[in-house]
Symmetry: C3
Subunit: 330 residues, 3 copies
């Protein structure tokens, strides 16, 4: 979906493209990429960490991205770069160029007559609601549903089956993976004598530029004001972001994490997988939350917060649990 | 999707609608709602808690819902009500009236000839299976898939991309948000010499009236009998409800919570976010499960159950973990 | 969806089909299945555990699958089998035969002209991408989106709303439930001075034969090499499997579990609900991870790993937490 197959390239062309110095046959052609263990003589791999030197030495890779200190390592054609990992990432961009968006609306798509879609590609069984705007270069995959009054910026990719509810705003160059839901109602109810009364959720979700959101993630619309995702934020799969959360620029949130309503997360934070933030707290800039940790109080100092004991063989753990319990009963 | 933009209203009209006493210009028009911090002179806000009095005093809000004790607070036009929070919720219903359902089936929808759809709205790329019934006033959004032999009551809203499998029953006035799956097979397998053998899941899911379910939630069909969700139950996003669970009336389940098979939850419980209930246990009426808590035994007394230690700075936590481990090894 | 209603059968026919010895009226007809508590005289139930003997004795079930030791129990017609539970599972297969797939492509589906679809059923609003192959006997439900260059084996069922991204491979006889996403990009980014740089994810997902995956689960494509799910693996709902994980044959993963990137799980493991495996670790064959446990180190011995304290009434728990905290501060 959207990514072309690998485009073979000469060692010289790739070295130039990623800013590496070439040692070896400039005309040899790279036909693939692989890990050190499985690479073949026509494939490129990389050595970024001296710990993997042994693997690199026994690798069959025909092309290796390495730091200067490893240029003497025999065998492969070398592409020398100060940061092989970064250079490899760049090599992937060059070898697997994104298929260009082909502007046009599939006859099988349902685009409201009042929507503005110029220079974007809308695939089969996608819907674009009334008064919505999809920016140039954006690709709306099959079966994505864009509600009314939504704005999607330029060069976005909205994958199959994404739902974006009424009034939400997506910045430029965002990628939203399948199954993710943006702008469903927040979980807002009030107790009454006859049960829970729904509180209309009249805010929206506003997402900045260069945001990527994984699959099956839920970001609820705000209750009164908006839920806000800053620029450059990266969110993994199956993440829950409740109404009125605000996520600062360049924060990364790993899979299965969640945060309850009105939680404020600063910039450049790293929120570990399966961690949970309770509502109405603030996490300062540059905080790191360990995986699986439940945070129930605001975090005011950058640094790492943890709340999970290392697991143990079941019998040992249960003994520990019982002893802990007893020691406290004394 | 389905909600109209704000309908401007005079202070008097709104005060009447929510049962508040008006102090100030009856003809002034409310053009929006906002929090105390961001409200403008044409917008309505509310003060429900004396702790926020300072914010209310510095608020630019032109209209304020307040309790009797705050009527002297200068500035805004006041709408006085014993419960400003409830009155504000009612004001949202009045100011943001739901767009009426427009009965009719999109020519782009796939409705089986044996299905009964009278007075409901079926949008593009939705499917309604054989012998299924959709009640009057219900709205089936784009790309929702309703299987065979499903019954959906009146005045429901089924959001884009929801899947409801064969034979499931949804009551009246239910709201199901995007990406939620009702009635997929329970996780039922039996070990055999050649691996896991699937146990057909022949129960269904039966959902009562006035139930709201968030996005990307999974409620599995029963193995033999049904999975049952009571009246007035509210379920948040990314919640897992396994086969044969039974949830009592008016229970609320927060995001990322889960329960394994055959768990029985009473009425009016509050199940915290990211909490997990193991299978084949019972939770009594009016129990409260703290967020992040794993409950592995039945709960027989109403009250709150907890199982998570407060998180700490990483170094402190690891010291605590090591000390705990050592103290037990003695 | 895809399952026919119950097909009534005589006691003799069912006994023969499941290999049970019949005691009672061979011509009596079974019209349903139910639990011991709710079964009626025309329904079949089973007693697999002596603990439920009392329930069986008071059951109104007209037909009972039992072990030899319970043949004397009065009332119902008996089907005697060494393993009533397994025999009951087989009875479900016989009584609820799967509706046959009806090969053909809905005129409302979007199948690329270069795709190969022979002997498969493609329903309304499904999409099949360029060069993709769907095997004979497979059923692609409404609104499933199959990307380019995907291979799906024979006799698979892909439920509504599933997304399978470019280049992924699904074996034979797989079942994938609604909302599940196969092959979205792994969470791969590199820090740069201007924020996170995306690392193209150029691996795919390769799924073996006889795999079942629940609803709203996410399995990411590999970064360079593939994410691999072995034969006979069973995965529940809302499970997160990150890029480059490898799951061994016949492992079962319960709901809400997750694993970070490059985690290797052995064969025949049982991964408990809501457990989390951190990245780059290995779990040996036949390991059992308790529900809710966070595993941050490799597991080398088969057996059970645990990491969750039993929950308590809130006050007791908080007292325990405070005492633990104090004891360590000394």
């Amino acid at each position: 979906m959207g990514r072309a197959a690998l485009r073979p390239l000469s060692a010289q062309a790739l070295a130039s493209a990623v800013g590496a110095r070439l040692i070896g046959d400039a005309n040899a052609v790279i036909h693939g990429v692989a890990s050190l263990e499985s690479a073949t003589p026509s494939e490129l791999s990389f050595l970024s960490d001296a710990r993997y030197r042994v693997r690199a030495e026994s690798s069959l890779a025909g092309f290796l991205l390495v730091r200067e200190e490893f240029v003497e390592m025999g065998g492969a054609i070398k592409l020398v770069h100060a940061s092989p990992h970064l250079a490899f990432a760049k090599a992937l961009d060059v070898l697997f160029p994104a298929a260009p968006t082909i502007p046009g609306v599939s006859p099988r798509a349902a685009v409201h007559e009042s929507a503005t879609v110029v220079g974007a590609e809308i695939r089969a069984h996608a819907s674009i609601g009334a008064n919505s705007v999809v920016g140039a270069g954006s690709l709306i995959h099959s079966n994505a549903v864009i509600g009314d009054n939504v704005r999607i910026g330029i060069d976005c990719v909205i994958h199959p089956g994404v739902s974006i509810y009424e009034g939400c705003i997506i910045g430029d160059r965002c990628i939203i993976h399948s199954g993710t839901v943006i702008g469903a109602d927040g979980f807002g109810f009030q107790p009454t004598a006859s049960g829970w009364a729904k509180v209309q959720q009249v805010g929206a979700v506003v997402i900045g530029n260069d945001v990527e959101i994984g699959s099956n993630t839920s970001i609820d619309r705000g209750a009164i004001e908006d839920t806000v995702i800053g620029n450059g934020v990266k969110i993994d799969n199956l993440v829950q972001i409740a109404h009125n959360c605000r996520i600062g620029d360049h924060t990364a949130i790993a899979g299965c994490a969640g945060m309850a309503g009105s939680t404020i997360v600063g910039a450049r934070c790293m929120i570990g997988g399966a961690s949970m933030l309770t509502g109405h707290i603030s996490i300062c800039d540059d905080a790191v939350i360990s995986g699986g940790t439940l945070v129930s109080q605001s975090v005011t100092d950058p640094g790492r917060i943890t709340g999970v004991f290392p697991s143990l063989p079941h019998r040992e753990w249960m003994k520990m649990a019982a002893t802990l319990r007893r020691s406290i009963k004394k």
